[in-house]
Protein backbone atom coordinates (compact mmCIF):
# COMPACT_ATOMS: atom_id res chain seq x y z
CA UNK A 1 0.00 0.00 0.00
CA UNK A 2 1.37 3.43 -0.88
CA UNK A 3 1.86 6.12 1.75
CA UNK A 4 -0.77 8.77 1.18
CA UNK A 5 0.09 12.44 1.26
CA UNK A 6 -2.28 13.62 3.98
CA UNK A 7 -2.33 17.15 2.55
CA UNK A 8 -4.37 15.86 -0.37
CA UNK A 9 -7.15 14.14 1.57
CA UNK A 10 -10.67 15.47 1.05
CA UNK A 11 -14.10 14.59 2.40
CA UNK A 12 -17.39 14.50 0.54
CA UNK A 13 -20.67 13.55 2.20
CA UNK A 14 -18.78 11.92 5.05
CA UNK A 15 -16.61 9.85 2.75
CA UNK A 16 -12.88 10.38 3.01
CA UNK A 17 -10.90 10.26 -0.21
CA UNK A 18 -7.12 9.88 0.00
CA UNK A 19 -6.88 12.57 -2.64
CA UNK A 20 -9.32 14.50 -4.81
CA UNK A 21 -8.47 12.69 -8.04
CA UNK A 22 -10.96 10.20 -9.49
CA UNK A 23 -11.64 8.49 -12.78
CA UNK A 24 -14.84 9.72 -14.46
CA UNK A 25 -17.74 7.48 -15.29
CA UNK A 26 -17.67 5.80 -18.67
CA UNK A 27 -13.97 6.49 -19.11
CA UNK A 28 -12.66 4.31 -16.31
CA UNK A 29 -14.54 1.08 -17.03
CA UNK A 30 -14.98 -0.89 -13.84
CA UNK A 31 -11.58 0.30 -12.62
CA UNK A 32 -9.98 -3.09 -13.19
CA UNK A 33 -8.96 -2.18 -16.75
CA UNK A 34 -6.37 0.18 -15.22
CA UNK A 35 -4.86 -2.33 -12.80
CA UNK A 36 -1.92 -3.07 -15.10
CA UNK A 37 -1.29 0.61 -15.86
CA UNK A 38 -1.54 2.53 -12.61
CA UNK A 39 -1.51 1.84 -8.89
CA UNK A 40 -5.24 1.83 -8.11
CA UNK A 41 -4.39 2.13 -4.42
CA UNK A 42 -3.06 5.62 -5.04
CA UNK A 43 -6.24 6.78 -6.73
CA UNK A 44 -8.72 8.90 -4.77
CA UNK A 45 -11.54 6.92 -6.33
CA UNK A 46 -13.44 6.38 -9.53
CA UNK A 47 -16.97 6.33 -10.87
CA UNK A 48 -17.95 3.14 -12.66
CA UNK A 49 -19.34 2.99 -16.13
CA UNK A 50 -23.04 3.87 -16.04
CA UNK A 51 -24.95 0.89 -14.59
CA UNK A 52 -28.53 0.13 -15.49
CA UNK A 53 -30.97 -2.36 -14.04
CA UNK A 54 -30.50 -4.57 -17.09
CA UNK A 55 -27.37 -5.03 -19.21
CA UNK A 56 -27.27 -2.94 -22.37
CA UNK A 57 -25.66 -3.63 -25.73
CA UNK A 58 -25.03 -0.02 -26.69
CA UNK A 59 -25.09 1.65 -30.11
CA UNK A 60 -23.79 0.34 -33.42
CA UNK A 61 -20.47 1.77 -34.59
CA UNK A 62 -19.01 4.27 -35.23
CA UNK A 63 -19.39 5.34 -31.63
CA UNK A 64 -16.59 7.87 -31.30
CA UNK A 65 -15.01 10.58 -33.40
CA UNK A 66 -12.21 12.92 -32.48
CA UNK A 67 -12.71 16.67 -32.78
CA UNK A 68 -10.37 19.59 -32.09
CA UNK A 69 -9.46 19.38 -28.41
CA UNK A 70 -11.96 16.65 -27.68
CA UNK A 71 -14.10 13.82 -28.89
CA UNK A 72 -17.74 12.99 -29.46
CA UNK A 73 -19.11 9.72 -28.14
CA UNK A 74 -22.38 7.90 -28.54
CA UNK A 75 -21.55 4.65 -26.79
CA UNK A 76 -25.19 4.09 -25.92
CA UNK A 77 -24.38 3.23 -22.33
CA UNK A 78 -23.20 -0.32 -23.00
CA UNK A 79 -22.81 -1.98 -19.56
CA UNK A 80 -22.95 -5.34 -17.81
CA UNK A 81 -25.92 -4.29 -15.67
CA UNK A 82 -26.09 -3.49 -11.97
CA UNK A 83 -26.56 -7.11 -10.90
CA UNK A 84 -23.52 -8.43 -12.79
CA UNK A 85 -21.48 -5.51 -11.50
CA UNK A 86 -22.31 -6.45 -7.91
CA UNK A 87 -21.64 -10.11 -8.49
CA UNK A 88 -18.68 -10.13 -10.85
CA UNK A 89 -16.82 -6.82 -10.62
CA UNK A 90 -17.21 -5.64 -7.03
CA UNK A 91 -15.53 -8.70 -5.46
CA UNK A 92 -12.45 -8.07 -7.61
CA UNK A 93 -12.37 -4.40 -6.60
CA UNK A 94 -12.23 -5.36 -2.92
CA UNK A 95 -8.50 -5.95 -3.36
CA UNK A 96 -7.90 -2.23 -3.88
CA UNK A 97 -7.87 0.62 -1.41
CA UNK A 98 -9.82 3.17 -3.43
CA UNK A 99 -13.31 4.64 -3.36
CA UNK A 100 -15.82 3.10 -5.75
CA UNK A 101 -18.70 5.31 -6.85
CA UNK A 102 -21.43 3.44 -8.69
CA UNK A 103 -22.74 5.54 -11.57
CA UNK A 104 -26.40 4.79 -12.24
CA UNK A 105 -28.78 5.58 -15.04
CA UNK A 106 -32.10 4.61 -16.50
CA UNK A 107 -34.76 5.70 -18.95
CA UNK A 108 -37.40 6.27 -16.28
CA UNK A 109 -37.42 6.98 -12.55
CA UNK A 110 -38.30 3.33 -11.90
CA UNK A 111 -35.29 2.17 -13.91
CA UNK A 112 -33.01 4.23 -11.67
CA UNK A 113 -34.62 2.98 -8.50
CA UNK A 114 -34.40 -0.63 -9.60
CA UNK A 115 -30.69 -0.27 -10.34
CA UNK A 116 -30.07 1.41 -6.99
CA UNK A 117 -31.85 -1.40 -5.15
CA UNK A 118 -29.60 -3.94 -6.87
CA UNK A 119 -26.53 -1.94 -5.94
CA UNK A 120 -27.67 -1.58 -2.32
CA UNK A 121 -26.83 -5.28 -2.03
CA UNK A 122 -23.21 -4.74 -3.08
CA UNK A 123 -20.21 -4.55 -0.76
CA UNK A 124 -17.61 -1.86 -1.20
CA UNK A 125 -19.55 0.90 -2.91
CA UNK A 126 -18.89 4.32 -1.32
CA UNK A 127 -21.56 6.37 -3.04
CA UNK A 128 -23.97 6.53 -5.95
CA UNK A 129 -23.72 9.00 -8.77
CA UNK A 130 -26.91 9.56 -10.77
CA UNK A 131 -26.34 10.25 -14.42
CA UNK A 132 -29.45 12.23 -15.27
CA UNK A 133 -28.45 13.18 -18.82
CA UNK A 134 -30.49 10.42 -20.43
CA UNK A 135 -33.76 11.03 -22.24
CA UNK A 136 -36.75 10.14 -20.14
CA UNK A 137 -38.88 7.91 -22.31
CA UNK A 138 -42.00 8.42 -20.22
CA UNK A 139 -41.94 12.22 -20.44
CA UNK A 140 -41.82 12.16 -24.21
CA UNK A 141 -38.08 12.03 -24.58
CA UNK A 142 -37.16 15.06 -22.48
CA UNK A 143 -33.85 14.71 -20.72
CA UNK A 144 -34.42 14.45 -16.96
CA UNK A 145 -31.25 16.39 -16.31
CA UNK A 146 -32.43 19.36 -18.35
CA UNK A 147 -35.55 19.85 -16.23
CA UNK A 148 -35.12 21.04 -12.62
CA UNK A 149 -38.51 19.57 -11.64
CA UNK A 150 -37.90 16.14 -13.14
CA UNK A 151 -34.38 16.05 -11.70
CA UNK A 152 -35.52 17.07 -8.23
CA UNK A 153 -38.26 14.45 -8.22
CA UNK A 154 -35.85 11.68 -9.20
CA UNK A 155 -33.32 12.87 -6.61
CA UNK A 156 -35.92 12.73 -3.87
CA UNK A 157 -37.03 9.22 -4.78
CA UNK A 158 -33.47 7.97 -5.10
CA UNK A 159 -32.39 9.52 -1.82
CA UNK A 160 -35.22 7.74 -0.05
CA UNK A 161 -34.00 4.27 -1.01
CA UNK A 162 -30.26 4.77 -1.45
CA UNK A 163 -28.13 2.96 1.13
CA UNK A 164 -25.21 5.28 0.36
CA UNK A 165 -24.62 9.00 -0.13
CA UNK A 166 -26.13 10.33 -3.33
CA UNK A 167 -24.19 12.38 -5.85
CA UNK A 168 -26.16 13.81 -8.76
CA UNK A 169 -24.29 14.49 -12.00
CA UNK A 170 -25.39 17.62 -13.83
CA UNK A 171 -25.96 18.08 -17.53
CA UNK A 172 -24.31 21.21 -18.96
CA UNK A 173 -26.86 21.49 -21.76
CA UNK A 174 -29.01 23.96 -19.85
CA UNK A 175 -29.65 27.69 -19.82
CA UNK A 176 -29.07 28.08 -16.10
CA UNK A 177 -27.15 25.39 -14.31
CA UNK A 178 -27.59 27.07 -10.93
CA UNK A 179 -31.36 26.60 -11.12
CA UNK A 180 -30.88 22.88 -11.78
CA UNK A 181 -28.26 22.60 -9.02
CA UNK A 182 -30.42 24.33 -6.46
CA UNK A 183 -33.44 22.14 -7.22
CA UNK A 184 -31.37 18.98 -6.84
CA UNK A 185 -29.63 20.18 -3.68
CA UNK A 186 -32.99 21.11 -2.17
CA UNK A 187 -34.27 17.65 -3.05
CA UNK A 188 -31.63 16.14 -0.79
CA UNK A 189 -28.59 15.29 -2.89
CA UNK A 190 -25.43 14.91 -0.80
CA UNK A 191 -23.13 16.25 -3.51
CA UNK A 192 -23.13 17.30 -7.15
CA UNK A 193 -20.74 16.32 -9.90
CA UNK A 194 -20.41 18.39 -13.07
CA UNK A 195 -20.22 18.49 -16.01
CA UNK A 196 -21.37 15.67 -18.20
CA UNK A 197 -20.77 15.99 -21.95
CA UNK A 198 -22.18 18.71 -24.22
CA UNK A 199 -24.29 17.54 -27.13
CA UNK A 200 -22.43 17.89 -30.42
CA UNK A 201 -22.25 16.62 -33.96
CA UNK A 202 -19.63 16.06 -36.64
CA UNK A 203 -20.37 15.48 -40.31
CA UNK A 204 -18.40 13.63 -42.95
CA UNK A 205 -18.70 16.13 -45.79
CA UNK A 206 -17.76 13.67 -48.50
CA UNK A 207 -20.18 10.95 -47.41
CA UNK A 208 -22.69 13.67 -46.32
CA UNK A 209 -23.54 11.70 -43.20
CA UNK A 210 -22.99 12.26 -39.49
CA UNK A 211 -19.70 10.73 -38.36
CA UNK A 212 -21.44 8.90 -35.53
CA UNK A 213 -23.96 6.21 -36.24
CA UNK A 214 -26.24 7.75 -33.62
CA UNK A 215 -26.08 11.16 -35.28
CA UNK A 216 -25.22 13.34 -32.32
CA UNK A 217 -22.83 12.55 -29.46
CA UNK A 218 -21.41 13.89 -26.22
CA UNK A 219 -18.47 16.28 -26.45
CA UNK A 220 -15.69 15.80 -23.87
CA UNK A 221 -12.02 16.68 -23.45
CA UNK A 222 -9.96 19.87 -22.99
CA UNK A 223 -12.18 21.73 -25.48
CA UNK A 224 -14.99 21.91 -22.90
CA UNK A 225 -12.90 22.77 -19.84
CA UNK A 226 -13.61 26.53 -19.82
CA UNK A 227 -17.35 25.83 -19.90
CA UNK A 228 -17.05 23.30 -17.09
CA UNK A 229 -14.94 25.58 -14.88
CA UNK A 230 -17.45 28.38 -15.34
CA UNK A 231 -20.34 26.09 -14.37
CA UNK A 232 -18.56 24.83 -11.25
CA UNK A 233 -17.83 28.45 -10.33
CA UNK A 234 -21.50 29.40 -10.71
CA UNK A 235 -22.85 26.36 -8.87
CA UNK A 236 -20.37 26.76 -6.01
CA UNK A 237 -21.84 30.21 -5.42
CA UNK A 238 -25.37 28.77 -5.34
CA UNK A 239 -25.40 25.59 -3.27
CA UNK A 240 -23.56 24.57 -0.12
CA UNK A 241 -23.19 20.84 -0.76
CA UNK A 242 -19.79 19.67 -2.07
CA UNK A 243 -19.00 19.62 -5.78
CA UNK A 244 -16.93 17.27 -7.92
CA UNK A 245 -15.51 19.08 -10.95
CA UNK A 246 -15.34 17.31 -14.32
CA UNK A 247 -14.53 18.38 -17.85
CA UNK A 248 -11.32 18.27 -19.85
CA UNK A 249 -8.92 17.76 -16.96
CA UNK A 250 -5.53 16.53 -18.18
CA UNK A 251 -3.03 18.14 -15.77
CA UNK A 252 -2.74 19.12 -12.12
CA UNK A 253 -3.17 22.74 -13.16
CA UNK A 254 -6.48 21.87 -14.82
CA UNK A 255 -7.62 20.11 -11.64
CA UNK A 256 -6.64 23.13 -9.56
CA UNK A 257 -8.75 25.41 -11.75
CA UNK A 258 -11.79 23.36 -10.74
CA UNK A 259 -10.85 23.32 -7.05
CA UNK A 260 -10.29 27.08 -7.01
CA UNK A 261 -13.64 27.50 -8.76
CA UNK A 262 -15.29 25.53 -5.96
CA UNK A 263 -14.89 21.78 -6.46
CA UNK A 264 -13.80 19.65 -3.51
CA UNK A 265 -12.64 16.87 -5.82
CA UNK A 266 -12.33 16.20 -9.53
CA UNK A 267 -12.93 13.44 -12.04
CA UNK A 268 -10.77 12.84 -15.08
CA UNK A 269 -12.40 11.40 -18.17
CA UNK A 270 -11.14 11.57 -21.74
CA UNK A 271 -7.51 12.18 -20.75
CA UNK A 272 -7.34 8.59 -19.45
CA UNK A 273 -7.64 7.42 -23.04
CA UNK A 274 -4.66 9.27 -24.41
CA UNK A 275 -2.61 9.31 -21.21
CA UNK A 276 -3.52 6.19 -19.21
CA UNK A 277 -1.37 7.25 -16.24
CA UNK A 278 -2.81 10.77 -16.12
CA UNK A 279 -4.47 10.27 -12.73
CA UNK A 280 -1.13 9.45 -11.09
CA UNK A 281 0.53 12.46 -12.74
CA UNK A 282 -2.22 14.76 -11.51
CA UNK A 283 -1.91 13.45 -7.94
CA UNK A 284 1.85 14.10 -8.07
CA UNK A 285 1.25 17.56 -9.47
CA UNK A 286 -1.17 18.44 -6.67
CA UNK A 287 1.46 17.46 -4.09
CA UNK A 288 3.96 19.71 -5.89
CA UNK A 289 1.49 22.57 -5.74
CA UNK A 290 1.13 22.06 -1.97
CA UNK A 291 4.94 22.21 -1.71
CA UNK A 292 5.26 25.35 -3.80
CA UNK A 293 2.38 27.14 -2.10
CA UNK A 294 3.10 25.91 1.42
CA UNK A 295 -0.30 24.32 1.83
CA UNK A 296 -0.93 21.98 4.72
CA UNK A 297 -4.25 21.01 3.23
CA UNK A 298 -5.15 21.35 -0.41
CA UNK A 299 -8.79 21.58 0.64
CA UNK A 300 -8.02 25.10 1.85
CA UNK A 301 -8.04 26.42 -1.72
CA UNK A 302 -11.49 25.09 -2.61
CA UNK A 303 -13.53 27.98 -4.00
CA UNK A 304 -10.77 30.48 -3.28
CA UNK A 305 -10.52 32.11 -6.68
CA UNK A 306 -10.25 35.85 -6.09
CA UNK A 307 -11.70 38.62 -8.12
CA UNK A 308 -9.01 39.60 -10.58
Amino acid sequence: MPEHDSRLAVEIAGIRFNNPVMGASGTFGYGLEFAGLIDLNRLGGFATKGLSARPLAGNPPPRIVETHGGMLNAIGLQNVGARAFVEEKLPLLAAYDTRVIANVFGYSDDDYLEAIRMLNDGEGISAYELNISCPNVKEGGIVIGNSPTAAARLTEKAKRIAARPLIVKLSPNVTDITQLARAIADAGADALSLINTLVGMAIDVNARRPRLNFGTGGLSGPAIRPIAVRMVYEVARTVSIPLIGIGGIATASDALEFMLAGATAVQIGTANYYDPCVTMKVIDGLADYCDRHNLESLAAIVGRVGEK
Binding site: A57, G58, P61, N213, T270
Partner: protein, 269 residues
Protein backbone atom coordinates in the same frame (compact mmCIF):
# COMPACT_ATOMS: atom_id res chain seq x y z
CA UNK B 1 1.03 -3.70 -22.00
CA UNK B 2 3.50 -0.90 -21.28
CA UNK B 3 2.89 2.85 -21.33
CA UNK B 4 6.14 4.60 -22.06
CA UNK B 5 7.90 7.30 -24.05
CA UNK B 6 9.85 5.82 -26.94
CA UNK B 7 12.59 7.56 -28.92
CA UNK B 8 12.60 7.95 -32.69
CA UNK B 9 15.55 6.31 -34.39
CA UNK B 10 14.43 6.97 -37.94
CA UNK B 11 11.22 8.07 -39.64
CA UNK B 12 11.83 7.47 -43.30
CA UNK B 13 9.51 8.19 -46.24
CA UNK B 14 9.28 5.09 -48.46
CA UNK B 15 7.15 6.74 -51.11
CA UNK B 16 5.11 9.95 -50.77
CA UNK B 17 2.52 9.40 -48.04
CA UNK B 18 4.04 6.20 -46.64
CA UNK B 19 6.64 6.06 -43.87
CA UNK B 20 8.62 3.64 -41.77
CA UNK B 21 9.06 4.67 -38.14
CA UNK B 22 11.65 2.91 -36.01
CA UNK B 23 11.43 3.42 -32.27
CA UNK B 24 13.74 2.48 -29.45
CA UNK B 25 12.29 1.63 -26.04
CA UNK B 26 13.70 1.84 -22.54
CA UNK B 27 12.18 -1.55 -21.74
CA UNK B 28 11.71 -4.87 -23.49
CA UNK B 29 8.48 -5.12 -25.48
CA UNK B 30 7.09 -8.57 -26.11
CA UNK B 31 5.21 -7.91 -29.32
CA UNK B 32 3.82 -10.79 -31.41
CA UNK B 33 2.62 -10.95 -35.01
CA UNK B 34 -0.68 -9.08 -35.42
CA UNK B 35 -0.36 -6.94 -32.31
CA UNK B 36 -0.40 -3.18 -32.38
CA UNK B 37 0.61 -0.06 -30.48
CA UNK B 38 -1.15 3.23 -29.71
CA UNK B 39 1.25 6.00 -30.71
CA UNK B 40 1.34 9.79 -30.53
CA UNK B 41 3.99 12.43 -31.03
CA UNK B 42 4.81 13.34 -27.43
CA UNK B 43 5.28 17.06 -28.04
CA UNK B 44 2.15 17.51 -30.16
CA UNK B 45 -0.73 19.22 -28.35
CA UNK B 46 -3.19 18.04 -31.03
CA UNK B 47 -4.67 15.67 -31.90
CA UNK B 48 -5.24 14.25 -28.43
CA UNK B 49 -5.85 10.60 -29.13
CA UNK B 50 -3.08 8.16 -29.92
CA UNK B 51 -3.25 6.29 -33.22
CA UNK B 52 -3.29 2.51 -33.66
CA UNK B 53 -0.39 1.14 -35.73
CA UNK B 54 0.46 -2.53 -36.20
CA UNK B 55 3.91 -3.65 -35.09
CA UNK B 56 5.57 -4.08 -38.47
CA UNK B 57 8.88 -5.49 -37.32
CA UNK B 58 10.60 -6.42 -34.07
CA UNK B 59 14.28 -5.78 -34.67
CA UNK B 60 15.09 -6.51 -31.04
CA UNK B 61 13.01 -6.43 -27.85
CA UNK B 62 13.78 -2.73 -27.53
CA UNK B 63 13.55 -1.76 -31.18
CA UNK B 64 10.32 -1.88 -33.19
CA UNK B 65 9.26 -0.56 -36.57
CA UNK B 66 5.91 0.69 -37.75
CA UNK B 67 4.82 1.17 -41.36
CA UNK B 68 2.18 3.83 -41.80
CA UNK B 69 0.21 5.85 -44.26
CA UNK B 70 0.03 9.59 -43.63
CA UNK B 71 -3.67 10.49 -43.63
CA UNK B 72 -5.05 12.91 -41.09
CA UNK B 73 -3.82 14.95 -38.15
CA UNK B 74 -2.46 12.08 -36.05
CA UNK B 75 -0.33 10.49 -38.72
CA UNK B 76 0.70 13.95 -39.96
CA UNK B 77 2.03 14.74 -36.50
CA UNK B 78 3.92 11.42 -36.52
CA UNK B 79 5.33 12.27 -39.95
CA UNK B 80 6.87 15.47 -38.54
CA UNK B 81 9.06 13.48 -36.13
CA UNK B 82 12.79 13.29 -36.65
CA UNK B 83 15.54 11.25 -35.00
CA UNK B 84 15.63 11.77 -31.24
CA UNK B 85 11.98 12.83 -31.13
CA UNK B 86 9.68 11.36 -28.50
CA UNK B 87 6.62 9.19 -28.96
CA UNK B 88 3.98 8.26 -26.38
CA UNK B 89 3.54 4.52 -26.81
CA UNK B 90 1.19 1.95 -25.32
CA UNK B 91 2.33 -1.45 -26.53
CA UNK B 92 1.79 -4.37 -27.19
CA UNK B 93 -1.99 -4.45 -27.65
CA UNK B 94 -4.55 -6.85 -29.08
CA UNK B 95 -4.44 -10.55 -29.87
CA UNK B 96 -2.06 -12.31 -32.25
CA UNK B 97 -2.23 -14.26 -35.50
CA UNK B 98 -2.14 -17.99 -34.77
CA UNK B 99 0.30 -19.98 -36.92
CA UNK B 100 -1.65 -22.77 -38.61
CA UNK B 101 -0.72 -25.66 -40.96
CA UNK B 102 -1.32 -24.03 -44.31
CA UNK B 103 -1.59 -20.32 -44.91
CA UNK B 104 -2.99 -17.84 -47.38
CA UNK B 105 -2.03 -14.27 -46.46
CA UNK B 106 -4.04 -11.45 -48.02
CA UNK B 107 -2.69 -7.92 -47.64
CA UNK B 108 -4.61 -4.94 -49.00
CA UNK B 109 -2.92 -1.55 -48.99
CA UNK B 110 -1.36 -0.57 -45.68
CA UNK B 111 -3.06 -3.65 -44.14
CA UNK B 112 0.23 -5.23 -45.12
CA UNK B 113 1.74 -3.74 -41.95
CA UNK B 114 -0.13 -6.27 -39.83
CA UNK B 115 0.97 -9.38 -41.75
CA UNK B 116 4.72 -9.04 -42.38
CA UNK B 117 5.60 -10.57 -39.01
CA UNK B 118 2.94 -13.23 -39.57
CA UNK B 119 4.52 -14.11 -42.92
CA UNK B 120 7.94 -14.30 -41.29
CA UNK B 121 6.57 -16.58 -38.56
CA UNK B 122 4.90 -18.81 -41.14
CA UNK B 123 8.13 -19.09 -43.10
CA UNK B 124 10.13 -19.82 -39.94
CA UNK B 125 7.65 -22.58 -39.08
CA UNK B 126 7.94 -23.97 -42.64
CA UNK B 127 4.21 -23.52 -43.20
CA UNK B 128 3.08 -23.75 -46.83
CA UNK B 129 2.22 -20.10 -47.52
CA UNK B 130 0.78 -18.13 -50.40
CA UNK B 131 0.77 -14.31 -50.25
CA UNK B 132 -1.72 -12.11 -52.08
CA UNK B 133 -0.60 -8.50 -52.05
CA UNK B 134 -2.85 -5.75 -53.42
CA UNK B 135 -2.26 -2.01 -53.61
CA UNK B 136 -3.61 0.98 -55.50
CA UNK B 137 -0.51 1.41 -57.64
CA UNK B 138 3.15 0.50 -58.01
CA UNK B 139 4.06 3.51 -55.84
CA UNK B 140 1.62 2.54 -53.08
CA UNK B 141 2.80 -1.10 -53.18
CA UNK B 142 6.32 0.08 -52.45
CA UNK B 143 5.00 2.28 -49.63
CA UNK B 144 3.19 -0.74 -48.21
CA UNK B 145 6.44 -2.69 -47.88
CA UNK B 146 6.38 -4.76 -51.08
CA UNK B 147 10.17 -5.19 -51.02
CA UNK B 148 10.06 -6.63 -47.49
CA UNK B 149 7.45 -9.16 -48.56
CA UNK B 150 9.39 -10.06 -51.70
CA UNK B 151 12.52 -10.58 -49.59
CA UNK B 152 10.76 -13.40 -47.74
CA UNK B 153 10.97 -15.50 -50.87
CA UNK B 154 7.44 -16.83 -50.43
CA UNK B 155 5.10 -17.22 -53.42
CA UNK B 156 3.49 -13.82 -53.91
CA UNK B 157 0.69 -12.71 -56.22
CA UNK B 158 0.57 -8.99 -56.80
CA UNK B 159 -2.27 -6.78 -57.98
CA UNK B 160 -2.61 -3.04 -58.40
CA UNK B 161 -5.86 -1.19 -58.98
CA UNK B 162 -4.34 0.71 -61.90
CA UNK B 163 -2.30 -2.14 -63.33
CA UNK B 164 1.00 -0.28 -62.88
CA UNK B 165 2.51 -3.46 -61.39
CA UNK B 166 1.30 -7.06 -61.34
CA UNK B 167 -2.25 -7.99 -62.28
CA UNK B 168 -4.69 -5.12 -62.81
CA UNK B 169 -7.64 -5.07 -60.39
CA UNK B 170 -8.41 -6.04 -56.83
CA UNK B 171 -6.47 -8.62 -54.88
CA UNK B 172 -9.68 -10.58 -54.32
CA UNK B 173 -9.77 -11.66 -57.99
CA UNK B 174 -6.63 -13.88 -57.98
CA UNK B 175 -7.51 -15.00 -54.44
CA UNK B 176 -10.91 -16.23 -55.62
CA UNK B 177 -9.37 -18.06 -58.58
CA UNK B 178 -6.81 -19.66 -56.29
CA UNK B 179 -9.40 -20.86 -53.77
CA UNK B 180 -11.82 -21.96 -56.50
CA UNK B 181 -9.01 -24.09 -57.94
CA UNK B 182 -8.74 -25.86 -54.61
CA UNK B 183 -5.81 -23.90 -53.21
CA UNK B 184 -7.65 -23.34 -49.94
CA UNK B 185 -8.12 -26.93 -48.84
CA UNK B 186 -6.96 -27.23 -45.24
CA UNK B 187 -5.72 -23.66 -45.25
CA UNK B 188 -6.38 -20.58 -43.14
CA UNK B 189 -6.86 -17.24 -44.85
CA UNK B 190 -5.30 -14.34 -42.93
CA UNK B 191 -6.59 -11.00 -44.21
CA UNK B 192 -5.85 -7.41 -43.38
CA UNK B 193 -6.79 -4.44 -45.51
CA UNK B 194 -9.63 -2.05 -46.25
CA UNK B 195 -13.04 -2.99 -44.89
CA UNK B 196 -14.56 -3.70 -48.32
CA UNK B 197 -11.65 -5.98 -49.18
CA UNK B 198 -11.94 -7.96 -45.96
CA UNK B 199 -15.67 -8.27 -46.38
CA UNK B 200 -15.18 -9.66 -49.87
CA UNK B 201 -12.41 -12.00 -48.72
CA UNK B 202 -14.71 -13.28 -45.98
CA UNK B 203 -17.49 -13.92 -48.53
CA UNK B 204 -15.18 -15.78 -50.86
CA UNK B 205 -13.71 -17.88 -48.06
CA UNK B 206 -17.12 -18.72 -46.65
CA UNK B 207 -18.49 -19.66 -50.10
CA UNK B 208 -15.53 -21.95 -50.67
CA UNK B 209 -15.48 -23.26 -47.13
CA UNK B 210 -12.07 -21.98 -46.18
CA UNK B 211 -11.34 -20.81 -42.64
CA UNK B 212 -10.73 -17.07 -42.56
CA UNK B 213 -9.28 -14.68 -39.98
CA UNK B 214 -9.42 -10.90 -40.38
CA UNK B 215 -7.66 -8.10 -38.54
CA UNK B 216 -10.14 -5.24 -38.26
CA UNK B 217 -9.73 -1.52 -38.14
CA UNK B 218 -11.85 0.83 -36.06
CA UNK B 219 -11.53 4.37 -34.75
CA UNK B 220 -9.92 3.88 -31.34
CA UNK B 221 -10.24 6.03 -28.26
CA UNK B 222 -7.95 4.17 -25.89
CA UNK B 223 -6.65 0.88 -27.33
CA UNK B 224 -6.88 -0.93 -24.00
CA UNK B 225 -10.55 -1.79 -23.73
CA UNK B 226 -11.91 0.97 -21.60
CA UNK B 227 -13.74 3.41 -23.89
CA UNK B 228 -15.86 0.82 -25.73
CA UNK B 229 -15.60 3.08 -28.76
CA UNK B 230 -13.96 0.65 -31.18
CA UNK B 231 -16.64 -2.01 -31.27
CA UNK B 232 -17.69 -4.26 -34.09
CA UNK B 233 -21.04 -6.05 -34.27
CA UNK B 234 -20.70 -9.81 -33.95
CA UNK B 235 -23.07 -12.75 -34.29
CA UNK B 236 -24.53 -13.75 -30.92
CA UNK B 237 -27.08 -16.19 -29.59
CA UNK B 238 -29.19 -13.35 -28.14
CA UNK B 239 -29.48 -10.78 -30.94
CA UNK B 240 -29.69 -7.53 -28.95
CA UNK B 241 -27.92 -8.70 -25.78
CA UNK B 242 -24.91 -7.32 -24.01
CA UNK B 243 -22.66 -9.52 -26.15
CA UNK B 244 -23.71 -7.90 -29.45
CA UNK B 245 -20.54 -5.88 -29.78
CA UNK B 246 -16.88 -6.77 -29.36
CA UNK B 247 -14.03 -4.35 -28.82
CA UNK B 248 -11.55 -4.44 -31.68
CA UNK B 249 -8.69 -3.39 -29.39
CA UNK B 250 -8.85 -6.15 -26.77
CA UNK B 251 -11.24 -8.78 -28.15
CA UNK B 252 -9.40 -8.43 -31.51
CA UNK B 253 -8.10 -6.90 -33.62
CA UNK B 254 -8.09 -10.44 -35.10
CA UNK B 255 -11.47 -12.17 -35.42
CA UNK B 256 -12.79 -15.25 -37.23
CA UNK B 257 -14.44 -13.70 -40.29
CA UNK B 258 -17.70 -15.55 -39.80
CA UNK B 259 -18.27 -13.90 -36.40
CA UNK B 260 -18.45 -10.43 -37.92
CA UNK B 261 -21.82 -8.95 -38.87
CA UNK B 262 -20.44 -7.21 -41.91
CA UNK B 263 -23.66 -5.46 -42.90
CA UNK B 264 -24.05 -3.73 -39.50
CA UNK B 265 -20.51 -2.45 -39.32
CA UNK B 266 -20.52 -1.41 -42.95
CA UNK B 267 -22.06 1.88 -41.89
CA UNK B 268 -18.79 2.65 -40.18
CA UNK B 269 -16.71 2.28 -43.31
Amino acid sequence: MIDTIATVETNRELTPGYRLLTLSFDREIKARAGQFAMLKAHAAFEPLLRRALAVYRVHSPRRLSFLYQVLGRGTQALAELTGGGQVDALVPLGNEWPVEDKAIVVAGGIGSASVLMLSEALRAAHVETQIFFGAASHRVAVGCGLEDFRALGLPLTLTTDDGSLGERGFVTAPLERFLAAGGGVGATVYACGPWVMMRRVAEIARALNVRCLVSLEAPMGCGFGVCVGCVVAVETAAPLGYESYKRVCVDGSIFPAERIRWEVNAMAH
